[in-house]
Symmetry: C2
Amino acid sequence: MTEQIPLQKKVLSENDRLAAEIRGRLDAHKVLALNLVSSPGSGKTSLLERTLAELGSKLNIAVVAGDVQTENDANRISRAGGTVVKPIITNGKCHLDARMVLDVLGDIDFAATNLLVIENVGNLVCPSSYDLGEDMKVVLISTTEGDDKPLKYPGMFRRSSAMVVNKIDLLGLSDFELARVKENALQINGTLIIHELSCRTGQGLDRWYAWLSDMMAAKKSGKLVQHVDSR
Amino acid sequence: MTEQIPLQKKVLSENDRLAAEIRGRLDAHKVLALNLVSSPGSGKTSLLERTLAELGSKLNIAVVAGDVQTENDANRISRAGGTVVKPIITNGKCHLDARMVLDVLGDIDFAATNLLVIENVGNLVCPSSYDLGEDMKVVLISTTEGDDKPLKYPGMFRRSSAMVVNKIDLLGLSDFELARVKENALQINGTLIIHELSCRTGQGLDRWYAWLSDMMAAKKSGKLVQHVDSR
């Protein structure tokens, strides 16, 4: 297993090269790109469905939806009004890499696109190591998971710019405490933007939409600070 | 990236050799070994806490608790009365491998142990590829995730012998349907044993304890069919 480390470095540096190519294309057209990451079941697809229902008629939103198997998520997103939806089936691989994303971006007209959302494979570990050319990672956590997740999976929370705490309508049904998850997350990454919302009841979504608009405006005006932390 | 496939095969075959060594030691003492796998937050640690509180005074249960970072789970399990609890911090790695497990098994007295439970890293993808010498994998899914998870992460459900559907007290609070998750799981693996329970309310736990006892008895009498599916 001694060859694994240099090989992994080589794979990652090739990934970085392709991610830079994606980032260059997005930046040329000032398209904001988010990489949505979380455990399976935290609500990445639900958040996208809600966001497309609210903003999809006003904005051109392209979505890349990765899954280990099935196009279930891509189908849900298409039904919700995704302007352009590109499914990627990883066939057992535990993360998206820049090559997979680059391969499906081909015919997207970025000149006519406001926002690209990449929905990663449900996995709190591996996707954190792969830059996909995004402006920022947004990590979701739901109130039915444990509030110590940021401490147990620090890589993902360190490399994300924003954390969405989903399913706040279910607060009180478990030991999960909102104050504690925020404290744990900020201990790992003091600059995290935190959203608290429920994709089911809609609570907190207005602030999420407003933040997305702010980020898109910042990208257009060249004022967005990209968060690429490869620690 | 063309070197990745042969290298991965080599790493996995080395893992298989070490897993066989673990299995040999467990079989010599007829110790039942379970590999608990799930997404982060499905309730692996909660199920262990409950099981140790119920059975820990009657049986000698050894636990190996894997986490990417922190010993939080191992500490919770120790408080619940784990006879022997061995934490493994993977330091960013997304799964346990047989080498890590072998390294902590050293001083466990298997002659005086009835059950070994290995709590894997919270991840529905990568741990499915690593045999840890267990008799069977038990995959957890909770009712706050999506009921299409077996279709989206088929490898894990195919390689498991049992599926625990946790948090059934929260049924009805989302679109999750019990009948649908069972149908989806059985479509992937028609021989899955299915448990429905709530670690919070205790519902369904009696059947889980009874099943564990049956499996331990089967192991003792040499009648347990080990489920090692490396597809």
